[in-house]
Amino acid sequence: MNALAWAILAIPFAAVFLSIVFPSRIGRVITAVSGGATAVCIFTEVALSADGRASLDALSALFLLPVAIVYGAVGIYSTWYVRAESIGVDGDERYRREFLALTNGFACAEAIVPLLTNMAGLWVALEVTTIMAALLVRLQGTEASLEAAWKYILITSCGLAIGLVGVVVLYASGVGILGSHYTPDWSSYMAIASKLDSDALRLAFLLALIGFGTKMGLAPMHTWLPDAHGAGPTPTSAMLSGVLLSDALYVIARFAAITNGALGTSVTQHLFFIVGLLSLFVGAFFLLRQRDVKRMLAYSSIEHMGIIACGLAFGTRLAVLGALLHVINHAGTKALAFLSAGRLAARFETREIAGITGGVAAMPVSGTLFALAGLALAGMPPFGTFRSELMVLGGGFSAASWPIAAIVLGLLLVAFAGLVRWTMSVTAGELPSGMHRGEKDIGAISSLLLVFLVVIGLGLFVPAHLAVLLDRASAIVGGRP
């Protein structure tokens, strides 16, 4: 790793300790600065990687982008959040410090994952994210947050246990060629992929998909996700959905690259189809019956992970490019949706969809941005998600698997109906009586506007550096680095 990559880890790591030491009024500024500085470092590193001047490969660089977008926004948003949402929680100052320290720690853990290519190291890094996230989810100390944290840590730990068996099987399959003591780096496996035993590779990929797919929220291993996203603090929900799911996908993509390089793409495609379609199905139909705005967004995450899995399953160049671009688009859009939903929930003092009406009238900026985020998640133009979903579907219809593409399109329409219905329900309508109009929190609003620039920007054009990275990353996932 170069100095910039170390800085990406060192900045939030230092912010953890500073947030503990200093009072929360200073800690929240430190968190905002840390988020911004980390984002700048990541964008610079990604640009260097696209120019071939960084040690990171395209896949790592691409999966760092969600960290930059979401942590950058969450850092600034937290300046408002720790003042607004912690009111009423016992031990306010302690809660605030813990929240800020854990948020910075969570961001640091999430940034480690895409920087690694050591397959065992990836498992360790994901375990660290589990610990940090569980502590954040239970931070509010309510019965719901305790239950969500319990389910989260046990279900994802069981998933990661299966993922570790996949790592161990992969390691054991390389022992005959690389010796009994070797570093399980991804590039080592790619170099000997054709010599690895095909049955062992199939088993390793299956275990990795089930294990790390649990962490990614793929159905049917998704059951922790709506609870954790719903019960945790709002910035944590944004980081869970926008970054953590993509981190788990990054690990699966590394496994897929080795398997594709050795066996061709048919093994991974079949398995991606199964989990992708199941996730789309679960996400789309559960969206229709939600009552809680954050749980609605959580089911939307499952749906979008299904879209990405289906894109990888179609296997055409266009579909894989779309799936990888969707990782970035989903991160930005979901961060915007969660953060703006958190603002509405704080103003209306409820997360129940039925209890929030006239969101735009009450909060012109946050309400409007939530409406736009909802439409973007539903796949409407001109947002980035529209572009990447179109690429996935276009790639699917151009392949032999067009009947599956038709099913995907049908499920997307179901999800569209659910998302648009609930988004309109929350944002449309008159200002509720007794509620004041307007909002003044510059920090929170500016964080929302910054993320919105990403959401709309990637719909209008794809920057040249990003296009280069997407092209190279799709080749890596296909097993042709």
């Binding site: 065992a120 360790v124 239950e147 570790l164 161990v168 054991a172 399959s173 022992v175 749980r295």
Partner: protein, 222 residues
Amino acid sequence: MLHALTMPEAFAGTIAMLLIVVQLTLFRSVVIGEFLRVYSLQSWLLAAISLGVGIVEHGWDLIALAVLTVIFKAILLPRYMQWLARGISVRIELPARINVLLSLLMAGALIGVSILTSIQLPLHQGAFLPKADLATTLSMVFLGFLVAILRPNALAQVVAFLTLENGLFFGTITLAPGLPFVIGILLLIDVLIAVVVFAVLVRALVEQQAAVSVSVFERLRG
């Protein structure tokens, strides 16, 4: 072709068999203390395997891990969890429709699946326990899942997860002895699960004066 087992192979094979037999006793245990004793005994066996592999492969890190395993997993954590659970009901309800015999039959089927899966794979080069290492690992992981599924009891599920982790511990030592840092992390996760999750869970159950059933964690649905 059959060949005579070497002493390390025979030692490791015996321990592997004992690990599974010990885990099978969870299907008839009805008190949390027994669950914790099973976890402790399994951890002693794991320490023996780690020591054996460390001596054969001259790996001081594995020998150190054997010592840490005894201290933390075999002695301190089970006692700490026993101490935590002293204030709550220790009986663990058995599932209504699945008795011990049926549980054991299901466990046997899972062990069979593990063996059939493992014999397909040529993962024997350089491994300490030829032909049985992956089968034992998968069996322990599957049995851990089965216990967690069959016991609707939060504390039992935590201990079942810890025995599942012991399967991973075993698999990493025997199949991937070049990854001692992973084993170290597994040890840390056990400590975390025992100290944080178990403690939080017990506190919540005591505060809510609830039964130890996981039904206290069924509010979030849909």
